[in-house]
């Protein structure tokens, strides 16, 4: 199973960076969806099945649909895009920044001071998610409901027809 995590981690990193770097918005949205799907697979392998399902269906599906809808509602010419945002020049340093940060992080994690805690035995069965969500984290449910209502009201206000 470790090989699956390594492959998905690599693909998630590549597509995550591509989502930021690509000039085409459509390709960026698709790269983000692939990165989300890879994260979903990693979650599944680590035993977080419900979170993986949410990640794949909502982040990889719904958010991509939202982005593609927004892109289809705005039709800027590709030539104008380069002039408007100057993204290509501004994103040119990202690989260098990532390489430098990667080297620094590798030096940190290979130093003798750095150590991760050992994996603890599973304290709860996987099917206690429902119990945790509805008993211990009930405040989160109310918070989520409020956030969703706020989002819905905001969208109604933003898309209101002008008189």
């Amino acid at each position: 199973m470790e090989a699956v995590v390594y492959i998905c981690l690599g693909l998630m990193f590549i597509f995550g960076v591509l989502a930021v770097m690509l000039r085409s918005m459509l390709k960026s949205a698709i790269a983000l969806a692939v990165a989300s799907a890879m994260l979903g697979i990693i979650m599944y392998v680590l035993g977080s099945v419900w979170a993986a399902m949410f990640e794949i269906s909502v982040c990889s599906g719904l958010i991509t649909v939202i982005f593609i809808s927004a892109i289809s509602l705005s039709n800027t010419d590709k030539k104008d895009l380069a002039k408007l945002y100057e993204d290509k020049e501004r994103m040119a340093f990202l690989p260098a920044v990532l390489i430098i940060s990667g080297v620094v992080l590798l030096l940190v994690v290979t130093s003798p001071v750095f150590s991760l805690p050992a994996v603890a035995p599973v304290a709860e069965a996987a099917d206690t998610l429902r119990e945790t969500l509805w008993t211990h984290r009930q405040a989160d449910i109310w918070g989520q409901a409020m956030v969703i209502i706020t989002g819905a009201l905001t969208v109604v206000a933003l898309f209101k027809e002008r008189e």
Partner: protein
């Protein structure tokens, strides 16, 4: 699963946060800014799951991740709504146009 996998996840997560923040501060396109935020949030989601895996409390980590995902969607929807309004008003999704708004 050995500690090397967890360390690799930590390194990749930090690199994704750096990439997301770089995209956040180096572009003027509002949708690209939201994509930068989403990329950074992917790494944060992975960290929460990793913490749950190490502590042996996967169910608790999953509840937090579900909350993060809900907030992620609402942030994306509201930001896209603002971006479309910006496009209708100024013909582009350049965030510098937000300075021209009243108020």
């Amino acid at each position: 699963m050995n500690a090397f996998v967890e360390t690799a996840m930590l390194v990749v997560g930090f690199l994704l946060i750096i990439a997301g923040c770089y995209g956040l501060i180096r572009t003027y396109h509002l949708l690209k800014i939201v994509i930068g935020v989403e990329v950074a949030m992917k790494a944060v989601t992975m960290f929460i799951i990793l913490a749950g895996f190490i502590n042996g409390k996967a169910a608790l980590a999953q509840t937090f991740v579900i909350t993060v995902i809900v907030i992620e969607v609402v942030v994306a929807v509201v930001a896209v709504g603002i971006a479309i309004n910006l496009y209708h008003n100024y013909g582009s999704m350049d965030v510098r146009n937000l300075r021209k708004l009243k108020g």
